[in-house]
């Protein structure tokens, strides 16, 4: 395979307005979309704003929408497109735009702060933590998250409904709740308070999720956000609130006391 010229259409503008701009740009063997954006910067548009960092799919900085699909630019190989295809690159469309491909992702940082932190178990000193590998594996899957916020971007709950941003934490941070709920030593509910799953429903908008699985579809880390985090969280909330057998069991237990 040799070099060729590809047609790119990149969104240029800021919060005031903007539009898609066409560029013809060289593509070489083995390149990814981010390489092409960098070539544009170096040759045709020195002020083209783009976030990036590690270039290896580990930091989650270069999130954008390529041909309408939320993706990491560094992990989208040019070879997945045909040579005569126009490749459209836009900023994430669920967040306010700053400039060109850069969006204001502060929504995500605000949501991160709303999730109560890990509560260490009382009476266990540092160095004395003992956890079995099988018990940490579920939470470890969620800790693979690189916070690219593609799931937050694609989730229609906030993408299509700005007004839900207040009430809904989004898949990434509901997954954070699940991670802590499954942490073998988290003591958040140790003193009889609400479990993390209950607070997911009461405080973080778990009910908004209609499990249409787009978060899982776009996750570059292939985390099973829906099946392993969100649905288990819904099921854990059901345990406390709706399960007939659990309800009956707790009634009987209370009688017996």
């Amino acid at each position: 395979m040799s070099a060729y010229t590809a047609r790119f259409r990149v969104w240029r503008g800021d919060a005031e307005g903007g539009g898609l701009k066409d560029y013809d740009v060289e593509v070489n063997d083995g390149e990814v979309v981010l390489d092409i954006i960098h070539r544009l910067q170096a040759t045709q548009a020195t002020d083209l704003a783009v976030r990036w960092n590690c270039k290896a799919g580990k930091c989650g900085s270069c999130s954008a929408e390529i041909n309408g699909r939320p993706r990491l630019m560094c992990m989208t190989r040019m070879s997945v497109f045909t040579r005569d295809e126009t490749i459209t690159v836009t900023p994430l469309r669920a967040f306010p735009v700053v400039r060109d491909l850069v969006t204001d992702v502060s929504f995500n940082y605000a949501k991160a702060r709303e999730i109560p932190a890990f509560v260490p178990p009382k009476g266990v000193a540092a160095g004395e933590y003992r956890m079995a590998q099988v018990d940490v594996e579920r939470s470890q899957e969620f800790r693979k998250c690189i916070e690219c916020f593609l799931c937050q971007d694609t989730c229609h709950v906030v993408r299509d409904h700005e007004e839900n941003k207040g009430a809904f934490a989004g898949p990434r941070f509901l997954m954070r709740v699940a991670e802590l709920d499954m942490h073998p030593l988290d003591a958040a509910a140790a003193d009889g308070g609400p479990t993390r799953a209950e607070s997911a429903q009461d405080d973080h908008g778990l009910g908004y999720c209609n499990i249409t699985k787009c978060c899982t579809e776009v996750c570059p880390e292939h985390i099973h956000i829906t099946d392993n985090a969100l649905i288990p969280l819904k099921e854990r909330a059901v345990d406390r609130k709706y399960d007939p057998l659990v309800w009956l069991g707790s009634k009987i237990r209370r009688r017996g006391q």
Binding site: G17, T88, T103, E162, V238, P244
Partner: protein, 292 residues
């Protein structure tokens, strides 16, 4: 259901056509991706692949099944061809049921029930599937267009998800799972009875036996692959290491759960095929080939 007022037809847009670059383009919606502050792009989405295909196929598939099952549920006829009973009509709980020779025809409802007895029991599998996490995804996407596909704008002006009535009732999936286990148990009993010949003697197997057997295997696989089941079996535990047996079972259910979509569709088809088979045999259109 979907209002569809602003849904786009991008499938008809050739890849080379430039979307409007004007920030205040006429087609621009004022909410969602068109909200103030977001990148000014008038198109509700820029996907160039055939994103509309999966929801379309799902919609057609579900519609076909709903059509067929509605007809069969109200038909109240040709649902028993000894030794086979249609899964739509088992258990058969009204006095107007055909006699099933030791089958699950328990006349609990007496003779005041004059409609099809299928209507008494179909509510359970229907409820199970209606509240199933996979089916929810499918019909929210295919019928409700909420969203039609990832990063494709949904047409609704507001959205509250499953936070309030009626959709908050999706949380009772757990109840339906318990009931679905009972129904699957009864269908298993029916399948066992299918190893008798039409006169009630054991040691028979016909094509119908095989059909029912495949169906019940798929029904069980679908039922056990359910997310509620996965949760009850082990998912709810905090420390797998303290429950090694449940942890292993959770692993097995997890393998099934990974194929939940496949099992949802294949068991849906198999249950329709099983009913159709009984219908064909019962109506005399087809003669059940006998293996032994």
């Amino acid at each position: 259901m979907a209002t569809g007022t602003t849904s786009s037809t991008p499938s008809s847009t050739p890849p080379g056509t430039p979307p409007s670059t004007s920030p205040a383009g006429p087609a621009r919606i004022a909410h969602g991706v068109g909200s103030p502050g977001r990148a000014a792009i008038s198109a509700p989405h820029l996907r160039t692949d055939r994103w509309w295909l999966p929801p379309l196929v799902s919609a057609l598939g579900l519609a076909a099944f709903i059509g067929y099952s509605t007809w069969r549920a109200f038909a109240n006829t040709h649902y028993y061809a000894a030794p086979y009973v249609s899964p739509f009509y088992s258990p058969c709980l009204a006095s107007n049921c055909t006699d099933m020779n030791g089958g699950a025809d328990w006349h609990l409802f007496g003779n005041w029930w004059g409609l099809s007895p299928a209507l008494l029991v179909l509510i359970f599998p229907l409820g199970f599937r209606l509240t199933c996490y996979y089916y929810r995804k499918t019909y929210y996407r295919a019928f409700w267009l909420s969203p039609p596909a990832c990063a494709v704008a949904e047409p609704h002006a507001s959205y509250t998800g499953e936070t309030r009535l009626p959709l908050i009732l999706q949380n009772i999936h757990r109840y339906f799972f318990y009931l679905a286990v009972v129904v699957a148990g009864i269908l298993s009993y029916d399948t066992v009875l299918a190893f008798r010949d039409p006169h009630g003697n054991w040691g028979h197997a016909g094509l119908g036996t095989l059909v029912l057997l495949v169906n019940i295997i798929l029904i069980w696989a679908y039922t056990l692959s359910c997310h509620s089941c996965r949760h009850i079996i082990g998912g709810k535990l905090r420390h797998f290491s303290a429950h090694p047996v449940r942890y292993r079972m959770w692993g097995w259910v997890g393998v099934l759960n990974g194929r939940h979509m496949l099992l949802a569709w294949s068991s849906l088809i198999s249950v329709g095929v099983a009913d159709l088979y009984v219908y064909l045999v019962s109506s005399g259109a087809f003669d059940d080939p006998r293996f032994f």
